[in-house]
Chain length 285, copies 4
C-alpha cells in the first residue's frame, strides 16, 4: 500500500496516490456505514481504499503518498492526523461531529472530494508539536495543543515555565497549555488565548484559569523550546486531549516543534474567519 | 461543651463562650504543635480549649456559643467553617498556609487574639451556599464556591443553567461555578469573575474556560435558585474544592443560599483591598 | 399637566395618569412622525399626550403621575429617563434604534401598549447614580454609568479610587467607570465587567483598558460612596455617554446612589437573558 | 554629519560612527541638563555629539551611521525611533520616564554606554508599521501601534476589518489597534492582547472594549495588509499615541509592515520577561 519515491516529505509536491485510508473510531457506526459507501464509490472511480479503525493504530502500513480521510469530529481528525503524520501522509477531514473547527466536507460529496484531492498538486503544512516528559524516552505528537494541568478535580497546580534556558513566569492555575496556530481556536481560545493565523511559525503559551498572576498568553517563535515544570503537586500531561502521562514535583515536560509538519489537504476548511464565524454561531446557539 | 440559649443564630449578638476548638488536619504537625502551645496559653487565661482533627468531623460536640479556630491555610479554614456552620458556632482563621486569602492572625498572638475575640459582641455573617444533587437527598455546604466540571482531564462538558424556572445560558466549558462574595477572590477570580464585597447578598455564576460562548460572569441575588444540568457527559460536583458527587447527562445540581450564614470573627482579615494587594503581590512573586 | 398627590415617589403604587409625553430628538424624523400617529391613536382612547423634544429639557412641566415614552434608541431612552427622573415620573421605552438593550415595544402597538401601561398598578424601580465633581455644586444623574476617562485620544490617565474613606486601587488606564445593574450590559460589558441582575442594590467599578494592573471589576453595595481622583492629567467625566465636565489632577468625582430610582414600566424589556441573547446575536451579526 | 557608505541599511553590519544625537523634548529640563553632561563626557572620549529637540524634527541632518539617543520616557523613545527610522540610523533609549518598558540605561553611565554601543557590530531590528489614510498620499510610521478609535469621548465606533482582500470581523468598540511585537506590552496589553516575542514577524489586531463581539486578538503574519474601515461615525487615527488624522464613514486606514525596520541598540532592555516583571511590579505598586 503506497508508492514510495516521493522526493520530499515536507515540501509541496505532486504525488502518486496509491491508496486512501478511511479512518474512524469503531463505535461510530454512522462513520463506518459511510466509509463502506465511500469505498464503493471510490472503486467506481478507480481509486483503491479501505477502512482503518483508529482505536488501535499500531503497525498500520502507510506511505507518504497515501491519503488518510478522517470520518468524525475534531477528536477523530486529531487522531487521524497523528496517524498520517507518522508516515508523512496527507490527511483530509470529513466532518461528522458537532464542534467541527477542523473539517467541513459534506458526507454526500466525499468520494468526489477525495478524487479531487488525490489529483491536487499541493498540500498545506501545519506546525505540529513534539512533547516529551523528563524521565521518559519517547516523544508524543500534538496538532492542537499540549496541556499540563492539575491531576485531580478541585486542585490547582503551581508550574514554572522556561523558554530555552531562560526562566519565564510561574503560574498557580488549573494548568498551562502550549498551542499551535491550528489549535489556537480550540482550548487555547477557551482559556483566553488569541486567534493565530494557521500559517505562522509560532507557538502560544496560555495559562488556564491562573490565580492572581498575569493571565495573558505569550506568543513565541516555533524555534522555542518550552519547558514546564511541576512545583508542588503532580500534574497531568495531555496531547490533543489525550492523557499521555503525569509528572511529579520537580519533573518537567518539554514542548518543541515537530520536525515534520502535518500535511493537510482541503485546507479551505481551516479558513480563519470561517472558523470564527462558525464558532461564534455555534457557541451561542 | 458549649452553653445553649443563644437567642439568635444569625444576628449579631453577645455570646457566652464555653469552649474553643483548635481545628487542624492531622498531617499538619506544625499546626498541631502550635495548637498545644495555644491550649496552654489559653488555660492561663482561664479559657477552656481542645484540639479537633478535621480529617473526620462526624459527631463533634459543638454548640452555637463555641469558637472554632482554624490553624492552617485556606483549605483548613473552609473545612473548619463547615464544621462551625453545622452548629451555628463562630469561626476564626489563623493563617499558616501560603495563599491565605482568608486568614491573617500571626501565630505568636493567637491566644491573645482568641481571648479578644471571645469577648467581642459582634460577629460577621457570611453568605454560604447549599448544594444538592438531583437524585440524592442530602445537602452539602460551601463557603467559597460550588463547581460543576468535566469529570476527566482533556474533556469539556456541556452544561445548561437555569435561574428559578427560567433557562439561562448553555456553556461548553471546563465547567461552571457558583461563588459567594467570600469566594469571589478564589477560583471565581481565576476563572475571570469579578471581586465582590463580602457583605453583599449576591451569588456569582462564572463559566470556566468556556468555548466560543459568553465568558462573562453573571451576578444574581442571594434568593436565586441556580440549577446546573449536565447535557452530554457526566460532570463532577465540588464544594470548596472537595468532590461531593457526580451527575450524569440529564441530571442536575441545585445551588441556593444556605439558611444559616457562616459566622466569622476577626473579619478584618477579609478586607477587600487587603486581599487584592496580597493576592497581586503573591501572584507575581 | 399631571395630577399631584402621589403619596410615595419610590414605592410601587397606583397612579392617576393625566398625560403622556412622547419624547424624541428633533433630528429623528421617523420618531416624530410616529409620535404624531400615536398622539392621534391615544386621543381616540381618551388619553392626553404631546411631543417633547429631548434636545432641550429645561422647564418641562412634568409630574410624578405622568408617563414619558421614549421613541428612539438607547441614547434617547437614557435622556428620557433623566427627564422622567427629575419629576419622579415613569418612563417607557419604545425601540427605534439598533443596539436596543433597553427597549422592545413594536412601533405598531405603541398606543395600545401605552394604554395598558397607564393602567398598570406597578412600576419597576432602577438604581440610578448621582455624580458630582469636586469643585462644582451641582449633581448629575446617570442610569447606565459614570465614566472618568482620558481627555484626549492617545493618552492614558492615572486615577486613584476610594470607597468611603478607604483607598482602593490606582489604575493607569483609558479610564474607569461606575455602572448600575441596568448599565451592566452596556459600556461595563465592553470593558470586561460582569452582567448584573437589574434588581440588585449594587454598583460596579470597572477599569477600561488598564495597563498592567488588576483588570477585574469590583462589585460594591449601593450604599458605597465611590471617589475617583485624577492623579497626573486632566480627565473627562461622562454620565450616560454625555460629557458633564472635566477634572484636573488632584480633583475628584464622587459617585453615589441617587436618592430617587428611575421608575420604568414595561420592564420585561429589561429581561437579562433576553438582553444577552440579543446582544450576542447582534454583536456577531 | 554622518559618514555615508554603510553597505546595508537593514542587515546587521559594522558601522563607522560619526555623530551621536541626544534627543529630548524641550520641556524636559532634566533631560536637557543631562544631555549637556553627556556631550561633555563624550567629547573626552573623542565622540562627537549634539542635542536635538524632538518638538520639531523636520530637516534634521542624519545618516544611517549616526546614533540617536533618546533621553526621556516611552513617548520620547517612540519619537526618537521615528526620527532614526527616517534615515536608517540606530536608536538607543535612556530611561528617564516612569513606565519605561522600552529603555533601561542608568543616567550616570550614559556616555560609557553610548561609547560601548558605538563600537558594537550588531543592531537589533524591530518590525515597524506604515499606515496610510485612504484619501491622503503620505504614509506615517509606528513602532508600537496604530489605533483607529472613536473621535469623541462617550462614543463608540463601528469598524470593519479586512486582511488583504478578505473581510474579517466588524467591531462596535472604543476602537481597534494593530500592534507590533514591540508594542505588544503597551496599549495592546491594556486592551487584552497577548505578549509577543519581539523578534517575531507578526502583527496583532486587537479590539478595544468591543461590545458583544469577539474580544480576542488575532495574530497575523507581517505580510498581511490590514484595512480598517469606519462604518457609521468618523474615527480618529493615531500612530504611537500621536493623532495623525481622522477618517469619515466609508473611508479606511491601511496598515502594513514598514519596508525598513527600526534599528535598536542595547536591546537587552527589551527583554520580554524583564518587561513583564517590571510592568507587573509597577502596575501594582
Amino acid at each position: 500500500m503506497g508508492v514510495p519515491g516521493s522526493t520530499s516529505q515536507y515540501d509541496i509536491y505532486e504525488v502518486y496516490v496509491s491508496h486512501v485510508l478511511l479512518a474512524a473510531f469503531s463505535n461510530r457506526h454512522d462513520a463506518i456505514g459511510l466509509a463502506q459507501d465511500v469505498i464503493a464509490d471510490l472503486a467506481t472511480r478507480g481509486v483503491s481504499s479501505s477502512i482503518q479503525m483508529l482505536d488501535d493504530v499500531r503497525d498500520v502500513p502507510l506511505s507518504a503518498s497515501d491519503l488518510v480521510v478522517s470520518l468524525g469530529g475534531d477528536g477523530t481528525f486529531l487522531r487521524a492526523a497523528r496517524l498520517a503524520h507518522s508516515a508523512g501522509a496527507r490527511v483530509l477531514g470529513v466532518e461528522l461531529g458537532r464542534l467541527g473547527f477542523l473539517l467541513n466536507v459534506p458526507p454526500g460529496l466525499i468520494a468526489q472530494e477525495v478524487e479531487i484531492e488525490l489529483n491536487r498538486s499541493t498540500v498545506e503544512e501545519r506546525l505540529a508539536l513534539e512533547v516529551s516528559i523528563s524521565r521518559e524516552p519517547r516523544n508524543e505528537f500534538a496538532l492542537n495543543e499540549v496541556v499540563v494541568e492539575r491531576l485531580r478535580n478541585g486542585q490547582m497546580v503551581r508550574v514554572q515555565t522556561f523558554v530555552g534556558s531562560e526562566e519565564y513566569l510561574t503560574y498557580s492555575a488549573d494548568g498551562v497549555l502550549v498551542s499551535t496556530p491550528t489549535g489556537s481556536t480550540g482550548y487555547n481560545f477557551s482559556a483566553g488565548g488569541p486567534v493565530v493565523d494557521n500559517t505562522l511559525p509560532v507557538m502560544i503559551l496560555t495559562p488556564i484559569a491562573p490565580h492572581f498572576t498575569i493571565d495573558r498568553s505569550i506568543v513565541l517563535g516555533d524555534d522555542a523550546e518550552i519547558m514546564i515544570k511541576a512545583l508542588d503537586k503532580p500534574a497531568c500531561v495531555l496531547a490533543d486531549g489525550q492523557e499521555i502521562g503525569t509528572i511529579n514535583p520537580g519533573e518537567f515536560v518539554t514542548v518543541r516543534k515537530s520536525a515534520a509538519p502535518v500535511r493537510v489537504v482541503a485546507s479551505r476548511s481551516f479558513d480563519l474567519v470561517h472558523r470564527l464565524r462558525k464558532g461564534l454561531r455555534e457557541g451561542h446557539a
